[in-house]
């Protein structure tokens, strides 16, 4: 792998950029691998990268039904944060944050990680209590957090509605200074290039249609490009975990829902933080390209169609203008949807499944992007060592039966409410 740098750019400019190598190979699938990872999104690619880099497992294939990073990796709103308070989540997401912080250098691929800080707004005493609990839990675990007053929020973000006209007056906020955004596609491409350089085969346009079993054990997969055997099969197909697991005979506590996202026309710098507002179900940041990227709540019905409907769209626009009245004349130029694995407690699954040979990584709800590095890191550990790391030990399927749920909100066993 040739290294990327300003010098390599200049050198290649001199030869009209005709000498750049492929970022990753386009290999034919082999008949057998040590590990087959189903799903070439950020999580699958990160898993392959860490398997090869940290655990020396390099006879690995990543099978992707379409193109790398084509699922939720390329559809999310790119927010990175580690402000979780439920035991099980807190340190996992902080692990992710720490991996994010050196990721561009580690991958030699600029993922444009921008730690511009995030405001989590509170609009009532009850919300402020929860934010304080969240912030205190973060801080007690070595994660940066602060609780801001209304006036402090106003200094950071004078463009919100502080007038008496605000339906949900801002009372304060939880601030995480290290939170921010990263360039989503670059994460997939950076991990892909890194995994490929360690010998991992990235196989696109290769859809898994079923599992090959020997007795109870999964020993491979059937694909649109033939049967591929593997000692271990690992799925990282959030959005589709439910029906893929079904093919292996496993019913999961997951429903698939759509989350919509929106992008505005490109404008000069306007919002230099990430903001989220639970009361209004709204979040917003400005990309390095100048577009505002924003979104809201789930549409709220099972769907695999990567698109949503008007009631939610109307609501998101109304929330945006209500929070930030100057957005009114700004125009959005595209909206889309991604399908989410919604679990019954809002937290993911990273574990050995009850079926021997099958490992599952899914149930990311709408928290998947920020988790990408730690998800890959923990999943690689789980696959290579045949047991979970402490950081993902709680992300089991059995927790629903035992009651050891990992809930941030206490919304109950309703996937659309997480």
């Amino acid at each position: 792998m040739s290294r990327y740098s300003i010098f390599s750019l200049m050198k290649n400019a001199a030869t009209s950029h005709k000498r750049w190598e492929r970022a990753w190979r386009d290999p034919e699938p082999k008949a057998e691998y040590d590990v087959v990872i189903v799903g070439g999104g950020g999580h699958g690619l990160a898993t392959a990268y860490y398997l090869a880099k940290l655990h020396g497992v390099t006879n690995v294939a990543v099978l992707e039904k379409g193109y790398l990073g084509g699922g939720n990796t390329g559809r999310n709103t790119t927010i990175v944060r580690s402000n979780y308070m439920a035991p099980g989540n807190t340190l996992f997401y902080e692990k992710s944050m720490r991996l994010w912080e050196g990721l561009s250098q580690d991958l030699n691929f600029n993922v444009m990680m921008s730690q511009r800080g995030q405001l989590n707004l509170g609009h009532s005493d009850t919300q402020m209590t929860v934010l304080k609990k969240r912030g205190n839990t973060m801080r007690a675990n070595g994660i940066d957090a602060d609780i801001l007053t209304r006036e402090q929020v106003r200094r950071i973000a004078p463009y919100f509605d502080y007038s008496p006209n605000a339906r949900f007056p801002i009372q304060g906020a939880l601030w995480q200074d290290r939170a921010g955004i990263a360039r989503h596609d670059a994460v997939a491409w950076g991990y892909a290039r890194g995994a490929d350089s360690h010998g991992v085969d990235l196989i696109q346009n290769c859809e898994v249609t079923g599992f090959v079993k020997e007795g109870d054990r999964v020993i491979g997969v059937e694909t649109t490009r033939g049967r591929i055997r593997a000692n271990k099969v690992a799925t990282a197909v959030a959005g589709h975990t439910g029906h893929l697991a079904e093919k292996a005979g496993l019913t999961l506590p997951i429903e698939t829902h759509v989350l919509q996202a929106f992008v505005s026309e490109p404008i000069k710098p306007m919002v230099d933080i990430v903001v989220s507002c639970g009361a209004m179900h709204f979040y917003l940041s400005q990309s390095d390209k100048g577009t505002l990227v924003f979104g809201g709540d789930l549409d709220g019905y099972n769907t695999y169609a990567q698109r949503g409907n008007l009631p939610l769209i109307d609501h998101v626009m109304a929330a945006g203008v209500s929070l930030m009245p100057s957005l009114s004349r700004l125009r959005f130029h595209r909206h889309w949807g991604g399908v989410m694995d919604m679990t019954m407690d809002g937290s993911p699954i990273i574990c050995k499944s009850p079926i021997p040979g099958l490992f599952i990584n899914g149930g990311w709800c709408y928290g998947g992007f920020k988790a990408t590095p730690a998800s890959g890191w923990c999943f690689a550990h789980t696959i290579a060592q045949d047991r979970p790391h402490d950081l993902n030990a709680r992300f089991t399927i059995e927790r629903f039966s035992s009651g050891h749920l990992i809930e941030e909100k206490g919304a109950g066993p309703f996937p659309w409410a997480q």
Binding site: S16, W20, K132, R139, A140, E265, Q286, I313, S328, R394
Partner: protein
């Protein structure tokens, strides 16, 4: 004042009688009514309209409609500023002010043009490969520079002074597109008596054909046909629903009084006819972005509709028939067209004859290889094209011109049809993606968007013009995002070969025009590079909106105070008159406190709570959820939904009930009373009124249809007042109802119906405050009157109105759980209510509450907390630890200590948190409720309440949560 030097003497659809003055970049111009900003500036000889996104190259008009990629301007100013509006979509009005953008100091002299010189380095994806060293410079330097350079216009920074509204339309037939075929479709449906809605984004009907006024007039006269111009169908959603935005007042300086700026429509149609036409494609040759190079169809629109000559000396360059007519139009308008360059070796003879008749030379089998000029077109290089299309051949020549009208073929506007997720199908003969399977039930496509056109000679496939001189210079596909053929080649070389990777790596089609003119060129070039067919490469996804749409338009006025509804009790006027400070509670606005004589919130609630404990207070409890439960199986039903016993509840008595979710966690609580044998009156918390009602309806309709129970939500029908305090009985007795208030007649937890001056009242003897207390309800229309009566009757007893803040203080003193404790995570046991759960019956949640994790002994349990130093305040959300937390215990970003941590809260010493705090007027210091591991066993021990974010630690004593009157003597009194 510039003159309209390019305006033709006659013709066009503009009104020469109405001169309109406007300003662009500080300079005054004149145009005519009917002009767009683009046509009016063109008439005045303006060639330069904008700078490109990345390289800041000078750009002129390419199109005449919403697909315009270059001429984006900032409209208006101040609170009405709107960036990035295509000049082609702006109707000029008197006093219009517009400015160019993304340039400094001026459009003609843009120092950021230096980016163009650096373009050999600023290739597709360059930023992924650099700015990584040193890592510390990324955010403060590199990223900051990137962010400043990016973006086009400047967004408004003030609230929008204009108004928006929503409207709904229902029709038999929705026709999208008011061109000739759309008009015909609407006429046909209209004549058949169907309710027709025709929408057209431009201000006029007729599309590119100008003389259709007769048909348009006929349409206008049909009562069952509605024509909406200036209206864009921007999105298709499920069930033949279309989102439209009507630009009501964008063509005037300020919306007329009473009018919104824009109106957001949702149209639901039984049948849809797409008549959205087709976009012409550019041709891809070196410097094809020079101002003066425009689409042939745009050149035609400027001469025909706007009577503007887009140039003096023109060359036309095409690969299909359509530009021949344009050539004639230009010539007829007085443009000196010297040459028609047709890439096809065989040309349409009938059309060619006409062109030649007009004295215009035709060069067949030839191409324009390069546009020349600095900042604007001065000449083009023309050469022959080899039969395989791979190289240019002699003869080569240079032709002087200031306008190149190009036509690279046509792309049907299938965008809206794609919004439901389908893919169009490629027709290699027409070189176009056609609707194919995109059309759903009751949908059809007509005209250009269906590929309904014919060429006498088929178009020549020509996605880029071969570069004769070794590939120096750029040939653009996506003008707005500065994507050139070289970027596609680079993407291919590096393996970004899927059409989505191409888009994401090069930004092709990711600009505000969503690649309307660019996408197909890009994927065709990728197909060429990969050596596969265009359908094999596939298409990217067209997403709503079809054209950029204002957030405010879609929000449609549901902003600010109207974001969600506000609910008010019938006593609201009284609260306002008495200076109540309101607070939101589950959409309800409730009095938080009633400040007296400049009191702050603390002084006010302490005074109010004290008055309740010492005399009597009244609080508006109308917002509580109220459900009337009736039917022969009502008792059976309540036995199932409540965890505690209701079968033994006697008529005329009330009981506190706890409801679980199916997963065994506490859902809601409230007081339910038995009005008659088969009639109960249930109350829920304010927040859960709706969900509890829906859940119980589900149980009855879906799960237990055999139960004969009927539920009626009566939350809005009953207004309620809690009367609390030692003198509450006296107050109620003085009210003048026909109810006997004596302890015998109305004991604790008793309920009785009666009247007050003929109005129905219902009195419950229940207490949330721990004092002798009642709740009195009446029908909503008498709510205010009842409150006034209670207020008057209470004067003798020193009554005070109290708000939610004092209510919270009173309930915390009593250790009653509320929202902060009922957080969806706690069990009955956690809340100290475990003994209430019936062991003799089955109830909702009764099985899963026995899961191991819900029974663990060390779960956080409800306790009371008192600061050891009584002068200190407690904070809700503080964590409970056995030792204080010091920031150096766990430094932020400390990798070593992080790696040692295991994922348990105990690792950080966290044993619980404070849920609710209040100053206790009774005790004279702060008290708190908390959920603490092994809480019951910790009573009497000292712990620390840690507000870790601020490094604050307060030593607290763990006590019973029942701070005041733990035995409940007062409320039974």
């Amino acid at each position: 004042m510039a003159r309209q030097i390019n305006r033709t003497a006659g013709g066009g659809e503009i009104d020469r009688g109405q001169t309109i003055r406007f300003t662009f970049d500080g300079k005054q111009y004149e145009g005519f009514a009917g002009d767009t900003l683009a046509s009016a500036l063109l008439a005045n000889g303006v060639r330069l309209y904008g700078r490109s996104f990345k390289y800041h190259r000078p750009r002129g008009l390419v199109a005449a409609g919403s697909e315009e990629p270059n001429a984006l301007v900032t409209m208006r100013s101040g609170a009405r500023r709107e960036p990035n509006i295509p000049a082609t979509m702006i109707e000029i009005y008197e006093g219009l002010v517009a400015e160019s953008q993304n340039r400094w100091p001026s459009l003609s002299l843009d120092v950021m043009g230096v980016n163009n010189l650096l373009s050999p380095i600023f290739v597709a994806g360059f930023y992924y490969k650099t700015f990584m060293w040193p890592a510390s410079l990324w955010e403060p330097v590199y990223e900051r520079l990137i962010r400043r350079a990016a973006g086009m216009g400047i967004a408004p920074d003030q609230p929008d002074p204009d108004r928006y509204e929503r409207a709904h339309a229902f029709c038999d037939v929705l026709v999208i597109g008011g061109g000739p075929v759309g008009i015909q479709a609407a006429l046909k449906a209209g004549e058949a008596g169907e309710r027709v809605l025709l929408v057209e984004q431009m201000p006029w009907l007729g599309g590119s054909i100008e003389k259709l006024t007769t048909d348009a007039d006929t349409l206008a006269e049909m009562g069952n046909v509605t024509v909406m111009t200036r209206t864009t169908a921007f999105g298709q959603y499920d069930g033949n629903c279309f989102a439209l935005v009507e630009r009501v007042a964008d063509h005037v300086s300020v919306p007329p009084e009473g009018q919104p700026r824009q109106r957001s429509w949702v149209a639901r149609a039984k049948r849809v006819v797409f008549a959205t036409g087709a976009h012409e494609r550019p041709l891809v040759f070196r410097n094809n972005d020079l101002p003066g190079v425009m689409l042939a169809s745009a050149a035609r629109d400027y001469v025909n509709r706007f009577a503007v000559r887009p140039g003096r000396n023109a060359v036309v360059f095409t690969n299909n028939d359509s530009a021949y007519e344009v050539t004639l139009n230009l010539s007829a308008a007085g443009v000196d067209v010297s040459l028609l360059v047709d890439a096809r070796a065989a040309i349409p003879e009938k059309l060619a004859a006409k062109v030649r008749e007009a004295g215009i030379e035709i060069l067949a089998g030839a191409v324009v290889t390069r546009a020349k000029g600095f900042g604007k077109l001065r000449a083009v290089d023309v050469a022959g094209l080899s039969s395989d299309g791979k190289s240019v051949v002699a003869p080569k020549r240079k032709v002087v011109c200031d306008l190149l009208a190009m036509s690279g073929g046509w792309s049907p506007v299938v965008h809206l049809m794609c919004h439901k997720g389908g893919r169009p199908s490629y027709d290699p003969a027409r070189l176009a993606f056609l609707p194919g399977d995109l059309l759903g039930l009751n949908q059809s496509a007509v005209g250009g968007c269906a590929g309904d056109w014919t060429d006498e000679v088929p178009p020549r496939e020509l996605w880029k013009i071969p570069q004769p001189d070794g590939g120096v210079g750029k040939a653009f596909l996506d003008f707005q995002n500065d994507v050139s053929t070289k970027d596609v080649e680079l993407a291919h070389r590096e393996g970004y070969v899927s059409v989505e990777h191409l888009k994401r790596y090069t930004m092709l089609g990711m600009a505000t025009d969503q690649g309307k003119t660019a996408n197909i060129l890009g994927l065709a070039l990728m197909a060429e590079a990969r050596g596969v067919s265009i359908p094999e490469v596939g298409t990217t996804t067209f997403r709503p909106p079809y054209t950029p749409t204002a957030l405010g338009a879609v929000a449609a006025g549901e902003v600010g105070r109207n974001f969600v509804p506000e609910r008010f009790s019938p006593m609201q006027d009284w609260h306002e008159e008495h200076g109540a400070v309101m607070v939101e509670a589950g959409l309800w606005m409730r009095p938080r406190y009633y400040p007296k004589d400049g009191e702050d919130i603390h002084a006010a609630y302490r005074r109010e709570a004290k008055a309740v404990r010492e005399a009597v207070g009244i609080v508006d409890v109308t917002s509580l959820g109220k459900i009337d439960v009736q039917g022969p199986d009502a008792t059976k039903f309540l036995e199932r939904v409540y965890a505690n016993n209701f079968a033994t509840l006697k008529v005329g008595r009330a009981r506190y009930g706890v409801m679980l979710r199916d997963d065994g966690v506490v859902y809601d609580d409230g007081t339910t009373s038995r009005i008659a044998e088969n009639h109960y009156f249930m109350t829920t918390t304010t927040a859960n009124a709706g969900p509890v009602m829906a859940f119980m309806e589900k149980l009855l309709q879906v799960d237990w249809p055999e139960l004969r129970v009927h539920l009626t939500s009566v939350s809005d029908q009953w207004a309620g007042i809690a009367v609390a305090g030692p003198k509450s009985r006296e107050l109620l007795a003085a009210l003048g109802t026909d109810i006997d208030m004596s302890n015998d007649a109305l004991p604790f937890m008793g309920v009785v119906d009666g009247t007050l001056d003929g109005a129905p009242v219902r009195i419950f003897r229940i207490s949330f405050s721990g004092e002798l207390a009642y709740e009195i309800y009446t029908t909503s229309e008498y709510g205010h009157a009842l409150w006034e009566r209670a207020w008057e009757a209470g004067q003798t007893f020193g009554v005070v109105p109290y708000g939610t803040e004092a209510m919270a203080a009173l309930r915390i003193e009593k250790g009653h759980v509320a929202g902060p404790e009922l957080d969806g995570l706690t069990t009955m046991d956690d809340l100290g209510l475990g003994r209430m759960a019936s062991k003799k019956k089955h109830f909702v949640g009764g099985v899963l509450m026995h899961r191991p994790a819900l029974l663990e002994a060390d779960r956080p349990k409800l306790v009371g907390l008192i600061p050891v130093d009584r002068s200190l305040n407690l904070k809700s959300g503080a964590l409970i630890r056995e030792a204080p937390f010091h920031p150096h215990d766990r430094p932020v970003g400390d990798v070593a200590s992080f790696d040692e941590l295991t994922e348990t809260p105990e690792a950080a010493g966290l044993l619980g948190h404070i849920t609710s705090v209040s100053y206790s007027p009774e005790l004279g210091h702060y008290v708190g409720l908390a959920l603490v591991a092994n809480g019951a066993e910790r009573q009497g021990s000292l712990m620390y309440a840690c507000h870790a974010v601020k490094g604050e630690n307060i030593e607290v004593e763990v006590v019973s949560p029942h701070f005041v009157d733990p035995d409940g003597e007062r409320l039974r009194g």
